[in-house]
Every structure is written in structure tokens, then in C-alpha cells.
């Protein structure tokens, strides 16, 4: 089933380093467009810092809006890296090989982007340090370590550090390949990054151990990150947020969103960099099967959230859900979320023809993330819009053009960073592809030669 195409080592080097060693016109055009749009978003962010939060749509009682929605969205996307890389590496899934680097890299850039969101949301970015760092020793004022708002940056920076280490460790053999094929300053820089890698048995052994150890150690961090984000909501007493299921619901939702983003990324990469020899229908099929399992688990948790929100028949809880389900525009957002995240893609993924179609998988994976963005929005805003015992003013929330520009800019920022990365490093790991080629074999079963894999 897998590894039906044999590619020589020389061809792997040539094709996967093409964008690194040569200039691709399409890459230049795309990078320029993304860079320009990022510049627009940076200008909007500068305007917001200069003018203050008054230029956003945030007002009483809704003080969490598009920025926090986008923060959760990108933390969710960042869960792709570990899901694809660490879990599939530990379970020795062979089809993971072409997608691990892109998934890990997207994790890093998505986390960086998500970290920017609360900082921008603060309006005066320097104020964020008051919440996180001890700043007033004389008066004994300390950040509250019992607050999830302190756990958040701790978990996310830990995840970011470990993800960067993960990416770097897996890049070392590829640095050496580029070092040996470059001259001048590039040779010096890649030589320094390769840290004397010559591919002897001891180095390969250490590299393998580091990969497995980092995979195992990063898993608890991976689970903790979105759990802690969920506890930003869960440990409060806001109706519809104070829910015990939020932690796994957020984590599984993040995996659904992240893996869908990887599907999108793989299909775009394949088209942009002509990676047809490395990204096949079988890889997208494998990811789609994984998505079916994740989506079903996520749907189970979603229904538990909904059913138990109504469990005690509390007025405030029912009010929030009535708002989400029946009052426009929230009901439209809810319908969009549910249709895009589950109702449309999951039944389609049941068909092998859809799972193996790049066009259909591109559409369905994009739909999932459209839905997941709306999901985060309807979790946050309607819950704050309700009339509470101490809420004397209440109303709706509409994002301003500044917020929309900044949030849209984050998508181009991640795209821009991915393009920049692809210019300096191969997005498909060269050594993993070569290793995969060596583990391919065939076994004769009766009259049929069946593709097989070498296992220890």
C-alpha cells in the first residue's frame, strides 16, 4: 500500500533542497504578498497600541473577543506538530515521514502567533508583564500563581521551547546535507548548525534516542497547554464556561483543528514545491482516517458539554445556550461551526475516493478550521453577553476593522514564516525520507507480492 514509489538518494537531495538552493519565482511572489499583508496587520496593531483598546469592538460586558478567539485558535493549530510527529513517531506509523517537519514547524509558528494575541489584547502590551512577572518587591505584590492566566504563558513558553528543540534536533542531519552542498557563508552557517554531524552510528543512535525521548517528554506538555487554556474558562463561574469537560474537549478539538491544518499545508506544499514524489494520496488518506477518529471523539465530548449544560436546568446556563442556538448572528455562527467542523467533513471522509482526493481534502480541511474558529467565538462571546447579577449594562460584540485586520494578518504571518522557513530548510525531512526508503520491502504471499516494512 505504501512506498510504491522508489526515489534515489540523489533525487531526494535534489528535489527537497530545490527551494533552499535555488530561487523559485512562485515562492518570491507568495512571500511578497504575505509580507505586504503582514505589514498591514502590523500597522493596525501599532495603531491599536497608539490609540488604545477603544478602537476595538470590546465594551462592557464583552471584554474577550476576536483576539482571544484567535489566541485559542492558534494554540489549537499548534497541536498538530506533536500529534503528527510525537505520537505517530512513538507508534512507528510509517506514513508520518513526509509531514512531520511541516507539522512541527507550523506548531512553532502557530505558538508564536498565539502568544502575540494576549499581548495585543492587553492594549498596552507592556502591562502583560504585571500579570506574569513579579514587579513590585517593595510592596510585596506578586502575580497570583493560582491563576490560570499565569499558567498560560508558562505552559505555552514551555511548549514553544520544547517544540523548537524538537524541530532543531530533527533538522541536524539535514543541516549537514545542506552544509555539504553549499559554499561561502551558507556553508559556514549550516556547518555551525550541523554541529559536526557526520552520520556515524553513534550520532544516529543519539539522534534516535533524542527523538524518542523528546516525543515522550513533549506529550504531557502538549496535553497541558490546551487544558490550561480551557481552565482560563473552566475555573471561572461564568455560565457555560464552568464545565468539567472543557480540558479534554479543548485538547481533542485542538488536535482536530491542527491535523486539518496539516492536511491543508501538505496539499499546498505539494502544489507549490512540486512534491508529488513525496506526498501521495496514501498520506492524505492516513491523515483523513486519523481525522475521523479524532472528530468522533471530539463530537462525543461536544455532546456531553451540551447535554450537561442543561443537566441542572439552570436559567443562566439555558439563556446562554438559547443565545448560541437560536439568536442570530450567533445561531448562524453555531450552524456554520457545526456544519463545517463535523456534519459536512466527517461523512465525506468515510469515502475512500474523498480521502484520496487532494481537492476534496483541501476543501474539507479548510472547512474544519473555519468551523473551529467560529466554535471558539461562540464559546467566548455569548457567555459574556448575558445579563448577570452584577451586570448593569449588557449587549453584543462586533469586531472592529482593526481587530479583523490584525486577526487576518496572523494567517498571513504564519504563511510568511512558513515560506521563510522553506527557503532556508527543507520542509520535508531528507533523512526521514531516505530512512523510509530503506525500510521498504516486499513479501510474496501466494501469487501476490505485498508491500512490506522492515520492523525490529
Amino acid at each position: 500500500m505504501y512506498y510504491r514509489r522508489t526515489v534515489s538518494d540523489a533525487q531526494i537531495n535534489r528535489e527537497l533542497l530545490d527551494n533552499v538552493l535555488n530561487t523559485n519565482v512562485r515562492w518570491v511572489v507568495l512571500a511578497a504578498i504575505c509580507g505586504l499583508l503582514v505589514a498591514v496587520a502590523v500597522s493596525a496593531a501599532g495603531f491599536l497600541v497608539n490609540q488604545g483598546l477603544g478602537v476595538t469592538g470590546l465594551n462592557r460586558p464583552v471584554f474577550w473577543g476576536f483576539f482571544i478567539t484567535n489566541f485559542i485558535f492558534w494554540v489549537g493549530i499548534s497541536h498538530a506538530g506533536v500529534m503528527i510527529s510525537a505520537i505517530l513517531r512513538l507508534s512507528q506509523a510509517e506514513w508520518r515521514r513526509p509531514m512531520v517537519r511541516a507539522a512541527e514547524t507550523m506548531t512553532v509558528f502557530a505558538l508564536m502567533t498565539s502568544l502575540m494575541m494576549p499581548i495585543i489584547h492587553a492594549g498596552r502590551p507592556w502591562r502583560i508583564f504585571y500579570w506574569v512577572l513579579p514587579y513590585d518587591f517593595a510592596r510585596g505584590i506578586w502575580p497570583d500563581v493560582r491563576s490560570p492566566l499565569v499558567w498560560d504563558p508558562t505552559a505555552i513558553t514551555t511548549y514553544l521551547t520544547s517544540s523548537m528543540l524538537f524541530v532543531f534536533t530533527a533538522l541536524i542531519p539535514d543541516f549537514a546535507v545542506i552544509r555539504d552542498r553549499s559554499t561561502g557563508w551558507r556553508h559556514v552557517v549550516y556547518g555551525a548548525l550541523a554541529m559536526g554531524w557526520h552520520g556515524n552510528p553513534r550520532q544516529w543512535k543519539l539522534q534516535g534516542i533524542a527523538g524518542v525521548l523528546l516525543s515522550a517528554l513533549i506529550l504531557p506538555v502538549f496535553v497541558s497547554v490546551h487544558s490550561i487554556v480551557s481552565w482560563d474558562f473552566g475555573v471561572s463561574l461564568v455560565p457555560s464556561w464552568h464545565v468539567t469537560v472543557f480540558a479534554p474537549y479543548f485538547v481533542v478539538g485542538a488536535v482536530l483543528s491542527g491535523v486539518s491544518a496539516v492536511v491543508t499545508l501538505m496539499i499546498v506544499m505539494r502544489r507549490l514545491f512540486h512534491l508529488e514524489n513525496y506526498i501521495w494520496e496514501e498520506h492524505i488518506d492516513g491523515l483523513a482516517r486519523l481525522l475521523v477518529v479524532v472528530a468522533l471523539g471530539w463530537h462525543f465530548l461536544f455532546w456531553l458539554e451540551l447535554v450537561f449544560a442543561l443537566w441542572l436546568l439552570e436559567d443562566q446556563e439555558i439563556t446562554v445556550w438559547m443565545l448560541r442556538l437560536f439568536e442570530p448572528p450567533w445561531s448562524w455562527f453555531f450552524a456554520t461551526f457545526y456544519l463545517c467542523s463535523f456534519v459536512i467533513p466527517v461523512p465525506l471522509w468515510m469515502f475512500r475516493r474523498v480521502r484520496r482526493s487532494f481537492q476534496m481534502m483541501l476543501i474539507t480541511s479548510l472547512l474544519v478550521n473555519v468551523g473551529m474558529f467560529f466554535e471558539r467565538l461562540i464559546i467566548i462571546v455569548p457567555a459574556l453577553m448575558r445579563k448577570g447579577p452584577f451586570t448593569f449594562q449588557y449587549g453584543t460584540y462586533r469586531p472592529s476593522i482593526v481587530e479583523v485586520t490584525i486577526v487576518a494578518g496572523t494567517f498571513f504571518l504564519v504563511g510568511f514564516l512558513m515560506l521563510m522557513f522553506s527557503k532556508f530548510f527543507p520542509l520535508i525531512p531528507i533523512w526521514e525520507m531516505k530512512e523510509g526508503q530503506r525500510l521498504v520491502d516486499n513479501v510474496q504471499v501466494g501469487r501476490v507480492s505485498v508491500p512490506a516494512l522492515v520492523k525490529e
Binding site: F308, L312, A452, E456
Partner: protein
């Protein structure tokens, strides 16, 4: 590929003909020791029925007296009945190591008969739905009883169908190789004239996948219904959305633990050392470790939300379930289901052994029993006067098991074991055709300096 030096020489596997002859010979044997164990379990099951008769004689008015009965039913659901999930899941993911133990796992579905029988009196002790929190929201047409039966029967039938479909080729082998006897006649009827043509294999393949998928989907539903009606709905003020998922996870952990224990028993007593080797125990110890870590994660997600919420109803619930009368019971379960397995299974030499995972599995099964009793006995002990309120007025005292409770628990578990034991002589306890298929797909080849296994991907 990174080497660890363990497979410098891999013994050549037997041919599938040799394996089939060996396994069929073991299947044909019905020794004295087998009948002794059947007698013991039958005796214990009888004692359980006496315990149940005592409880039935006392009537259904005292719900607290039925807590252990419900807890035992949940224990069987979370151990024996969870095993087919593992078989179905591993078959869907085409895990090669599953082959020798899928039959053991699938036979766990037979315990569904015990669960249905225990559900009948258990449903009689539930209070009326009107005026209390429940999952049914005035749902018509016989809620909760009818829907409980429908859900559980669907799950049990899917499990039995899965076990039967997966056993068809082996039943045909039994038909052709057993000496003429009543057993051979039964096996012959059950084999439905299987001759193993291409069409039959295709139907069998699709059937096992479909029934496995139905079992995978219906199991969380059944756990949700049981825990909603017999735990969450009986404790006023308790709103714990994660708990149905938590008990499903408890089931997965208990299912893996029960499977490892049964693999060990079958290996030691049936002479199946060649088939149930270190590979199988090693492979299953990894999900066991993962489920043990998730056990804590799911519990913690729930506990932390209540702890921070600090509403009076939440403090009462924490007192009742974790910090009050059942504190020691909870601590024991926390150690046996999370701390102990984590400390032991984090080490590869422990995981890569026969005894290591088995000892941990026994601890987990004890922990699961204790945990199920805590969950369901505590809920059953809330009096009717409080069940219809919005919060607990007082924390009920712990209910410890009486004689009939102990008899019911031992009897029900023995009943599930007895059915397993009897079925293991109707169908071979290891899946001969699956092992044979696996042997055809594996070759030992030279790979650079060493010998390795090359595994072909089936289907």
C-alpha cells in the same frame, strides 16, 4: 533504523500448518483441571445467585442496599465487556501484534449476558425521573428502562456478533478436526458450512470491521447511560460533564488490564507460550500506561473545576466522593489505577516482560473494582428525600458491603469468568486463522548486519 541489540537473531517462526496443528491439538484437550475450574466458578456463581435472592427478598425500597450490585455490574462493563473494544480497535488499525489475543478479547463480549441480567433488578431501584436531574429531559417512550435495554442489547449483540464472525474460520477448523462428539456437532452447526472461499472471507472481513465499529460506538453510549442514571442523576447538585467520558476511559484501562491478566492465565495454564509472548505483553503495556496517565488527567480536570468553583454544591460533592467518607477508598484507587502503574510501567524492562504488566494489571483490576464501588455505592446511598433536591443536605455515611453484597460481587464476576471458560472450549481461545494469516505476512530477512522481521500490510 536505530538498533537496540535485542534482535540480533530472531528465531524462524513456525509455518502456519505447524501452528494450526499445535493450536488445534490444544483446543481438543479438555483436561481434569479445566473441569475443576468450571466447577469452582459454577459454585461461586451459584453463591452469587443466593446473594441476589436475599437482596430480591428484601425488595427494592432500600436503594443503598443495591449499590454494590450496580457497582459490580459497572465493574464487569468496565473490564470484561471493554475487551472487545481493544480487539476492534487493533483490528481497525491493523496492528500485527494483536493476532494471538483478539479471540480472548472478543470472548469478553459474552459477559454482556451477565450485565443484562444484572440490569433488570438494578433499574427497579431508580427513583422516578420527575423532579430530579437526569439525561432524559422528559424523553418519552419508556425512559430510562427501555432505552437502557436497547443500548445495552445493541452493544452486547454487536459484541457477540463480532466474536462469532471472527470465530467462523476456527469453528470450521474445529468441525473438521474434532473427533465425533456432541462438541463436534455443536461446533459444526455453529460453523455455518464455512469453506473459506473468497466471498466468505470478504464477508467475514467486512462483518468483523462493521460489528467492531458498532461496538466501538455503542460502548461509550452505554457507559454514559449507566453513569448518568446510576451515579450523576442520584447526587443532587452534581454536574460533571466529563464523567461519562471518564468512566469510558476507566473501561478502556480495565479492559486492557483484564486482557493482560487473561492472556497471562491462558499462557500459563493452556500452554500457549509460543503465541502469547513478550511482544504481546509489551505492546499492551504501552496503552495501559497511557490509560493510567489519562485516568489522572480526566479525574484532575473534574476535580480542579469543582475545587476552583467552590460553590456549596461542589464542595459537598468533593466531600462526598473524594475527601469525606470514601477518602481512603479513593486514595487506594488513585494509587492502584494511576500512581502504581505510572511508577512501574514507565520503565521499559518492566513493560517488556510477562510478569510486570500482569502484576500491574491485577492492581488496576482491584483499583477498578474499588473505584466502581465508590462511584455507585456512594450515589445509591443518597436518600430519596435528597435526590429530588438541588444540593446535598448532608453527606451520607459510607456504606460497607454486607454478606449478600460480597456474594453478588464474587458470583457475578465468577459468572462472567465461567461463560468465558465454557466458550473457550467451543471456539479455540486463540485465533488460529489470524495467527496463520500473520505468519504468511511475516518474513525474517537479513537487513545489513542483522536479522529483522519484514511485515507485509494486509488488505
Amino acid at each position: 533504523m536505530q538498533g537496540n541489540g535485542h534482535h540480533d537473531s530472531i528465531p524462524q517462526p513456525p509455518s502456519h500448518q505447524e501452528m494450526a496443528q499445535d493450536a488445534l491439538a490444544k483446543y481438543q484437550e479438555v483436561g481434569t483441571r479445566y473441569w475443576i475450574w468450571v466447577s469452582i466458578f459454577a459454585g461461586l456463581t451459584l453463591l452469587g445467585m443466593i446473594g441476589l435472592a436475599v437482596r430480591l427478598n428484601d425488595g427494592f425500597d432500600d436503594r443503598a442496599a443495591w449499590g454494590y450490585h450496580v457497582g459490580t455490574m459497572a465493574f464487569i462493563l468496565s473490564t470484561f465487556a471493554a475487551m472487545p473494544l481493544i480487539a476492534a480497535g487493533l483490528r481497525l488499525t491493523k496492528a500485527h501484534f494483536r493476532r494471538p489475543f483478539t479471540r480472548i478479547a472478543e470472548l469478553g463480549s459474552l459477559s454482556g449476558i451477565v450485565i443484562i441480567l444484572m440490569l433488570i433488578p438494578a433499574l427497579q431501584v431508580l427513583p422516578a425521573l420527575q423532579g430530579r436531574s437526569d439525561i432524559w429531559f422528559d424523553f418519552p417512550l419508556g425512559a430510562p428502562d427501555a432505552w437502557q435495554y436497547i443500548a445495552i442489547t445493541t452493544m452486547v449483540l454487536a459484541g457477540l456478533g463480532l466474536a462469532y464472525f471472527a470465530a467462523l474460520p476456527d469453528l470450521a477448523a474445529g468441525r473438521d478436526h474434532l473427533p465425533p462428539s456432541w462438541r463436534q456437532q455443536v461446533v459444526s452447526r455453529l460453523s455455518l458450512g464455512w469453506i473459506g472461499n473468497l466471498r466468505a472471507w470478504r464477508i467475514q472481513y467486512m462483518g468483523t470491521l462493521t460489528l467492531g465499529a458498532i461496538y466501538l460506538l455503542s460502548y461509550p453510549l452505554v457507559q454514559t447511560l449507566i453513569v448518568s442514571d446510576f451515579h450523576l442523576g442520584l447526587i443532587p447538585g452534581l454536574k460533571d460533564a466529563i464523567f461519562p467520558a471518564t468512566v469510558t476511559l476507566f473501561g478502556l484501562q480495565g479492559g486492557v488490564a483484564m486482557l493482560i491478566l487473561l492472556m497471562f492465565i491462558v499462557r500459563q495454564t493452556g500452554g500457549y507460550e509460543r503465541y502469547l509472548g513478550v511482544d504481546q505483553f509489551w505492546s499492551m503495556s504501552k496503552p495501559l500506561l497511557a490509560f493510567s496517565l489519562l485516568w489522572f488527567y480526566f479525574w484532575w480536570s473534574s476535580f480542579l473545576t469543582f475545587w476552583y468553583g467552590r460553590m456549596p454544591s461542589e464542595i459537598d460533592v468533593l466531600q462526598m466522593l473524594y475527601l469525606g467518607p470514601y477518602r481512603n477508598v479513593f486514595m487506594l484507587s488513585l494509587f492502584l489505577n494511576f500512581l502504581g502503574p505510572m511508577i512501574a510501567l514507565i520503565w521499559n524492562p518492566v513493560r517488556r516482560s510477562i510478569w510486570g504488566p500482569t502484576i500491574v494489571a491485577v492492581g488496576i483490576l482491584i483499583g477498578t473494582w474499588v473505584n466502581m464501588m465508590r462511584i455507585y455505592v456512594s450515589a445509591a446511598s443518597v436518600p430519596d428525600s435528597e435526590v429530588f433536591g438541588h444540593a446535598l443536605v448532608s453527606i451520607p455515611a459510607a456504606v460497607w458491603p454486607a454478606g449478600p453484597d460480597i456474594l453478588i460481587s464474587i458470583g457475578a464476576i465468577s459468572g462472567a469468568a465461567l461463560i468465558f471458560l465454557l466458550a473457550s472450549k467451543i471456539v479455540p481461545v486463540i485465533s488460529i486463522w489470524e495467527i496463520g494469516e500473520g505468519l504468511r505476512l511475516v518474513k525474517i530477512r537479513r537487513f545489513y548486519q542483522r536479522w529483522v522481521r519484514v511485515i507485509a500490510k494486509s488488505h
